[in-house]
């Protein structure tokens, strides 16, 4: 099955850049990505720029409107994602537990809809 792991965290909840904790945090991501690749479950994954850089778009009455910022104002922001192809939810959760942000943020694991 295919899953996406959406990585959420609040501003200033993780380690600050330039600290030893930050280096450890980034190493955690390198280790996670490497593990996924070695296990052959990695379909992709990217970090995202801050929600400050987001633009939301919608079409109402045939007219396109754009807005500065994310669609919903929430405390936790989507900061990146991984996509896995693995056996079942248990394996997806085990893989997601390697994501360092899980220690202070939240990882939402969702199955990707199968249209095949």
């Amino acid at each position: 099955m295919r899953y996406i792991a959406l990585i959420y965290s609040g501003d200033n909840t993780g380690p600050a850049p330039g600290t030893p904790e930050w280096d450890e945090f980034m190493d955690g991501y390198r280790i996670a990505t490497q593990t996924y690749e070695e296990r052959g479950v990695m379909l992709g994954g990217e970090p995202l720029e801050h929600t400050k850089t987001a633009t939301s778009l919608r079409i109402r009455d045939g007219k396109t409107e754009t807005m500065d910022g994310p669609f919903a104002e929430t405390k936790e922001r989507l900061g990146g994602f991984y996509m896995f192809d693995c056996k079942d939810l248990d394996e997806a959760l085990e893989l997601a537990s390697l994501i360092p942000t899980a220690k202070f943020g939240t990882i939402e694991v969702r199955p990707i809809m199968d249209l095949g």
């Binding site: 079942d88 939810l89 248990d90 959760l93 199955p111």
Partner: protein
């Protein structure tokens, strides 16, 4: 007339078979279909068909084998009628082969996959109350209506809760499997918690309230025994079973007809079921001998000390206090801390018990047993004004008529 009676008896037999074997059949079906929802629908179809055919022709040689075979065929029909037929062709072929192989298979050859079923129903990705409902429905075979009544829910709401859960199992890819060794402890404790909560749901209701709640205690014990058979020599499973049996041994003593609940202190201990106590103590001995302590063994050990005492005063409270200390280390929770405070009170340390309660006040303000304990401690300390107020708050918070009556009776004694 005679024919009618025969029909009713047969109908009862059929319902009985379906109820007893539902879990086993469902588990076997999920295993071969790989789809929780489809397995349930197919089994319902088979049961419906059984009621028609068996009423007409009598029971088949192997009712379980019959049900399984019909359910498989119905599953194939449902797959054929389904939207994504082409994608399911390999499934259908596999099912048909399996059907061929297992035709007229004697019932003791139906593989027992219930351990997988239990772990799936109690998967941590499912919300806790739903885990309880799903386990009662799938493993114990209770009807949606019975479960709804036990949880004071409407049939519709409970039905929706169950279908959402089944849909999630399929869509989210919750596996139908026994957890691996690395996950065993955590996943096992999720299962044990579900069983314990089922028992508690039945235990905390009084005799006069919805009789379905009494059966919850029996279902919890049934589940725990089944789990102990399917995964033997696990000390925490044995610990929980011992705990449930020790609680059940006091069933007769804890309800006085027309009077309601009795506390441990008030119970006539000669009414305790001593055969059940012996069985529980042996189980607990086995569990402790495996030298892997856990919270359920610890709780069972506490209840065992109560069971071995001839009266409240003869109870080994210092030992109980030590066990609560250990339990709190294993599982730090405010409920454990509250029970520990009562043990403190019983060892004679009223001052320490009072200060523990003061400490927990803000956290447990909305918890009925907190105020009941507060009232007991205040009574012992001679502060009757405080005790009355605490009983009043406990009565306000209580959900059960019997419990309210008991609390009011305790409050009345203060005058």
């Amino acid at each position: 007339m005679a024919k009618d009676r025969q029909d009713t008896a047969l109908h009862a037999t059929i319902i009985g078979i379906i109820r007893d074997d539902r879990g086993r059949l469902l588990a076997a079906l999920i295993r071969s279909l790989g789809d929780f929802d489809l397995a349930e629908d197919a089994l319902s179809d088979a049961v419906e068909s059984a009621l028609v055919h068996w009423s007409r022709n009598g029971l088949p040689n192997s009712p379980q084998g019959w049900l399984l075979q019909v359910a498989r065929r119905r599953a194939i029909d449902r797959l054929r009628r389904g939207q994504r037929f082409s994608a399911r062709v390999p499934d259908i072929e596999m099912l048909m082969e399996e059907e061929e192989e297992t035709r007229n298979m004697p019932e003791d050859h139906i593989p027992d996959e219930r351990l997988r079923l239990i772990f799936t129903c109690c998967h941590p990705a499912i919300e806790e109350k739903t885990r309880i409902a799903l386990t009662l429905r799938s493993v114990c075979g209770l009807t949606t209506r019975e479960i709804a009544r036990a949880f004071l829910d409407t049939d519709i709401a409970m039905g929706q809760r169950l279908s959402r859960a089944k849909a999630k199992i399929t869509t989210a890819g919750i596996p139908f499997s026994i957890p691996e060794r690395s996950d065993w402890d955590a996943r096992r404790s999720a299962v044990l918690t579900v069983i314990y909560l089922i028992y508690n749901e039945g235990w905390t209701a009084g005799a006069g309230e919805a009789p379905i709640r009494d059966t919850l205690c029996d279902e919890a014990i049934y589940l725990c025994r089944l789990l102990n058979d399917l995964a033997p020599h696990d000390p925490e499973i044995e610990g929980l079973l011992a705990l449930l049996l020790l609680m059940a041994s006091r069933r007769k003593a804890r309800l006085r007809p027309g009077f309601g609940l009795l506390s441990l202190e008030e119970q006539d201990r000669s009414l305790w079921d001593h055969a059940l106590i012996d069985k529980a103590l042996r189980l607990l001995d086995d569990a402790v001998g495996r030298q892997a302590p856990g919270p359920f063994q610890c709780q069972a050990a506490i209840q065992a000390l109560h069971s071995e005492a001839t009266s409240n005063d003869e109870t080994d409270w210092p030992q109980i206090l030590l066990l609560y200390d250990r339990l709190y280390r294993l599982k730090p929770s405010s409920v454990v801390r509250l029970n520990r405070a009562i043990a403190l009170l019983e060892t004679g340390d009223i001052r320490a018990a009072q200060s523990e309660l003061e400490d927990m006040r803000s956290e447990l303000e909305a918890y009925q047993p907190y105020h009941a304990a507060d009232a007991e401690i205040a009574t012992r300390a001679g502060d009757l004004v405080h005790a009355k107020r605490a009983y009043g708050r406990a009565i306000e918070l209580s959900q059960s008529e019997d419990e309210r009556r008991w609390l009011a009776m305790r409050r009345g004694r203060l005058n």
